[in-house]
Symmetry: C2
Subunit: 382 residues, 2 copies
Amino acid sequence: MDTRTGLPVVGMVGGGQLARMTHQAAIALGQSLRVLAQSPDDGAALVAADVQIGEHTDLDALREFAKSCDVVTFDHEHVPSAHIRALAAEGFAVHPGADALQFAQDKLLMRTRLTELGFPAPRWRTVEGLDDLVQFGDEVGWPVIAKATRGGYDGRGVFPLSDADEAAALVATGTPLIVEERVRLVRELAVLVARSPFGQVAAYPVVETVQRDGICVEVLAPAPDLSEELAVAAQELAIGVAKQLGVVGLLAVELFQTADGLLVNELAMRPHNSGHWTIEGARTSQFEQHLRAVLDYPLGETSLAAPAVVMANLLGGEPGGMSIDERLHHLFAEDPGIKVHLYGKQVRPGRKIGHVTALGSDMSSVRARAVRAAKWLQEGQW
Amino acid sequence: MDTRTGLPVVGMVGGGQLARMTHQAAIALGQSLRVLAQSPDDGAALVAADVQIGEHTDLDALREFAKSCDVVTFDHEHVPSAHIRALAAEGFAVHPGADALQFAQDKLLMRTRLTELGFPAPRWRTVEGLDDLVQFGDEVGWPVIAKATRGGYDGRGVFPLSDADEAAALVATGTPLIVEERVRLVRELAVLVARSPFGQVAAYPVVETVQRDGICVEVLAPAPDLSEELAVAAQELAIGVAKQLGVVGLLAVELFQTADGLLVNELAMRPHNSGHWTIEGARTSQFEQHLRAVLDYPLGETSLAAPAVVMANLLGGEPGGMSIDERLHHLFAEDPGIKVHLYGKQVRPGRKIGHVTALGSDMSSVRARAVRAAKWLQEGQW
């Protein structure tokens, strides 16, 4: 507890944009997020008052950090399970716990457990050698999608394979893999739910996520033209996963919508890119909700604040031309209603450096505004 | 400019809740608010990364502070004009400037100038001695309202006088005063406008403010049952004041609504309590708008995000009983949609320690929620 305010201290391991935006939400709740950042230049470290510099792989640093927190949570999935278990064994409150988080850290564990529990998934197989890959591809049809079991994000660690030769080249790298069928998609959806230690669960409206090169570029809330039946099924699925895996905090379930229904694609147990729209677009932002969940506060209302909300990611473009500050001036003149979130990051091609959110009553015009704003900020041209 | 982000640095003199909430808005814009706080325990100092401890009355501290800012602005009106002029003369960008800010610092200057410019006001007079007060009271009718020309806020510096005896006692204190008639009110309104150095102006919807013991306790947005004609008149009046006084940044104009129209009560040139509802209730919060204005960014959309928005202040109650943390748990269970903002302050009776905001479609039920939440957090009983 912060003795000055009488309010709890949440510590977040990792100093990226998720911690940065969680700090904004913490301020409203009377708190100040404590951040374990790798560098003073991390997005969250630039804005938070209470920052420890250290590595998330260093148990001593984690322990030192945890000592001044009421609860420890995560900006990413890269903290070793053994460290999380060690902290828990020493009596620190860590949410989500290692038993849950492992399923967001390891795709083999996730696929195995969700399959045991009966949740729908693409056909998949463990890859112990090239034979598994080739046999699977021959069975379900090429191309197939191989995935590194650990460490992938934003399209990294995902390998579409056209044939046995490509499979052989990948297996030769020694990366631990699973393989999945390439699903015939209608589109991708995502559901964000929060779960508290008490067991309360709250689900946000189902969104459509639009990917390019494996990176989420747009999120449409609510998912346009989604039947009530599928929307409820998606929320129930996500709530079921959260309960069965014992998640505390946020759980993002990325789904494939197919002609036959829903399949689980990926899980994340933290605030998630598919939920950035909630800052302005829902009554409770995902960042506030994550804080409420890990602190075992009753959860906030998840309803939409506008009929149509679209978030578009800003990816670092080629440097040069107008500065981001100049681009902001022009953007704000062009669209006074657009909301901009910049993460304090150095621009590198393809890196997520921020996002924009547009809100309104008509999805297609709202989407056009968000896409146009993101293009302008990235490329310096309309 | 922050060389790490390529974005401008705004410095705010004063580390209270206005700076605290401005920092939240700065984070979204890719910035980190620089704060000159009196104490490391100030509400903004608890949450901001870039804090200088120093006095706002110390020119050396102000100069040191300004050196690392692109623009300096204010959390309160207590910086001496001479210091602001000195900084401007040395080439620092300071918004609002001393020529504008003086009218928010000194009620005599404000009344004199607005009267010259033809803006409507209660009948008023300069008080140079007891005779002025008594003569004015006999003319317009007792009671009258004497006001300290400088330093008043939240009901302090406002003295209702019933008769010549009370007037004599007040004059004996030596406080420089003006005196105003006691206006027969319909209610109090407020209009918030932003103005940029370029000259762009944006007005928020007119709100009703509800005072108790001279302290604002509730703000209803939009002001219920206000005619379109009066709403436009109030906005035009505030825009006129902002232009005529050369305000840069936010200007809050507090108004009396009377049977005969509108009268200017007070001015503030900074984010204002009457605008806290904009955080969730308007497309652009007043804190983001203030940053945009002082940076000469084009201003943001000011429209309502919900048909009815009510902000209720939290005033420190008697200590004891349930902690604020326990009260939050109960409040969130009771009303999952209520938004809470706590300022990190020690609770003292009557001190503003936070606010709550409720949004919805029906003003009377939204108001009931906000009032109920504030009462609970303050008193620990429903």
